[in-house]
């Protein structure tokens, strides 16, 4: 397989991307910060930090605790609110030729609908990520992705508003007993694609102060520590819903890790926490992934999606 004829593009719903590597929501702010280190148009797309209706200050510090091969974060959806975001951040990304997936988070079902309406006519957006799984909210009952009925209501609200304008990617939580059943509910409600996985809820206790270390007490665990959980979730959901595109994420640090997620069933891969340790991680992952796919004999990304699900010779 020659590099020149290799097809590195991918699709999520009706959105096409020239490369299958994306930022992860909440791990690239709104894109500007990383643009000093690589041109944003070289990656698949920038997935922006989940934006809410109103400006939000987020949780108190400390917001971070490093853990073995991972970290806890407790940001609490700090952000400028949809008005400032659409006025400043999206135009800047479009001007800099980045493809943009806007991630939205609401406190209520209605808020998701309102946010979706605000995005409908904005030029330059490739898709909408509906984040129903942020663990850093005060009311665990508001983690819509942990409850099938709430998840369904949110996705229906966004679907109704967006009609067929923009593909909807719904981001799910791994903190559920059966992620495939939640995935089925949101796909039935109108999701075009799924983002798997959000962080896992965790806690670190400071053994000097003998209190929880984070200002928000609990936080979301990310980084290589959670990668096997992500691979498992992607594998299970792809097995249950083989036609639904998956944006895979959770601890991807190398091209090998991204390849693993594609084999499990991901059509694209997001790099999140790895960018904290290496601002050019996205480019490294992308280059390594391309070489790996070519060296394994694939002609395209698409050929490798879910390849780990093929019948084995030993157990047909």
């Amino acid at each position: 397989m020659r590099e020149s004829s290799f097809d590195f593009s991918t699709t999520l719903g009706s959105a096409w991307f020239p490369a299958p590597v994306f930022t992860a929501s909440g791990c690239a702010s709104s894109g500007r910060e990383l643009s000093q280190f690589f041109p944003l148009d070289e990656i698949g797309a920038v997935v922006t930090k989940s934006v809410m209706l109103k400006e939000r200050l987020g949780r108190p510090t400390p917001r971070m605790a490093e853990t073995p091969s991972g970290m806890l974060n407790s940001i609490g959806l700090q952000g400028p609110g949809i008005d400032a975001f659409l006025a400043k951040d999206v135009p800047w990304l479009v001007e800099n030729k980045a493809r943009v997936i806007v991630s939205i988070a609401g406190e209520t079902v209605d808020e998701y609908g309102v946010l979706a309406r605000r995005l409908r006519s904005v030029p330059g957006i490739s898709a909408v990520e509906v984040n129903i799984s942020c663990p850093n909210v005060d009311n665990r009952g508001l983690v819509f992705a942990c409850d099938p009925e709430s998840a369904k209501a949110v996705v229906e609200s966004v679907r109704r508003t967006l009609a067929g304008d923009l593909p909807i990617i719904v981001k799910l939580s791994p903190d559920v007993t059966n992620i495939a059943s939640i995935a089925r509910v949101v796909v039935d409600a109108g999701a075009d694609a799924l983002a798997l996985i959000n962080t896992l809820l965790g806690m670190v206790i400071n053994t000097d102060t003998m209190f929880p270390h984070l200002g928000g007490k609990t936080g979301g665990l990310s980084g290589p520590a959670i990668r096997p959980v992500a691979v498992r979730a992607i594998f299970q959901v792809h097995e249950a819903l083989p036609k639904v595109p998956i944006l895979g994420m959770g601890g991807v640090r190398t091209g090998r890790d991204a390849f693993e997620m594609i084999l499990a069933g991901a059509s694209g891969v997001s790099v999140g926490t790895a960018s904290f340790g290496n601002p050019t991680a996205l480019i490294d992952v992308q280059n390594e992934l391309k070489q790996l796919l070519i060296s394994k004999g694939f002609n395209s990304v698409q050929e490798a999606v879910g390849f780990a699900h093929r019948p084995s010779k030993a157990n047909p």
């Binding site: 510090t61 290589p224 904290f276």
Partner: protein, 281 residues
């Protein structure tokens, strides 16, 4: 291209020397061209632990000083306290080993265009970036006085060559093991009322920065402080290192100490809200 992180680059650099100085390590790194853009108050984010480490986050260190002369070209000096797993790893790195670093990062100290009376206050190894700052201020014609403090003598960082770049140096220790017994803030009220200070530049523990801000509030003295808040990325994408800062309309913004800092206007930081809950814009 955005102005955020302008001039910062990721480079592989070589350690030229690594010496123990009191309780700290003085580490000299050959970083090349990027020193041209490094200013006092900037910091560097260094990958620690090697390729197969379970430490996944960079560590931020204040740049103590840089030089673009000498046989090695651009060099950067860090003063590192081996307190955590990352800084301990860095302190064990031998001469000749490579470091993956990103620099320069952050908002540096503001340098006055007119000569002023500057007072530089350092707590512990927070003094490290102040000596490079002192040289810049002296070159601008400023009078530069320095006060350093720590709990005990071994935690004072005051290199002999650094003392040459200041007009006066006073040291305070809490146990009286060197200099005067007391805190760096003890002489401040009288220095300010005498009109001996126009601008305070400070670097050290947050408690010290807050105390100085308390003393300078309701005075004409400008307080530029280099804050310290734990960071996951150092480049502005993780949102973990935020501090509550009061905007001109009185409302609060949570600003990143990596982008909007580390040097901040001490009078705008809402110190009483650091680490507090239930804030609304």
């Amino acid at each position: 291209m955005s102005s955020i992180n302008r001039h910062s680059q990721q480079v592989v650099a070589t350690i030229l020397s690594n010496k123990r100085v009191g309780q700290y390590h003085q580490i000299l790194i050959n970083v090349g061209e990027i020193v041209k853009h490094c200013k006092p108050g900037n910091f560097v984010a260094i990958k620690v632990g090697g390729d197969h480490s379970s430490l996944i986050l960079r560590r931020a260190f204040a740049i103590s000083r840089v030089s673009d002369r000498g046989e090695y070209g651009g060099t950067m000096e860090l003063i590192v306290a081996p307190h955590g797993s990352g800084s301990r790893w860095l302190c064990t790195q031998e001469v000749g080993s490579s470091l993956d670093l990103v620099a320069p990062l952050g908002t540096p100290f503001g340098i006055p265009t007119e000569p002023v009376q500057a007072l530089l206050i350092g707590g512990g190894y927070g003094s490290a970036p102040l000596f490079g700052l002192a040289e810049v201020l002296k070159a601008r014609g400023c009078r530069v006085d320095m006060i350093l403090g720590a709990s005990t003598v071994a935690k004072i960082y005051a290199p002999i060559e650094g003392k040459r770049s200041v007009n006066s140096l006073k040291i305070y220790t809490e146990d009286g093991s060197t200099g005067e017994m007391g805190k760096v803030t003890d002489p401040l009220p009288s220095l300010i009322s005498e009109g001996a200070v126009d601008v305070i530049y400070s670097c050290g523990p947050m408690g010290m920065l807050q105390a100085i801000s308390g003393i300078t509030s309701n005075t004409d003295v400008v307080h530029q402080c280099a804050v310290e808040e734990s960071m996951a990325c150092g480049v502005g994408i993780c949102m973990t290192c935020v501090l509550p800062v009061r905007k001109s309309d009185g409302s609060i913004a949570m600003l990143r100490s990596c982008i909007d800092g580390p040097v901040m206007d001490g009078s705008s930081v809402a110190w009483e809200l650091v680490g507090k809950n239930a804030m609304t814009p």
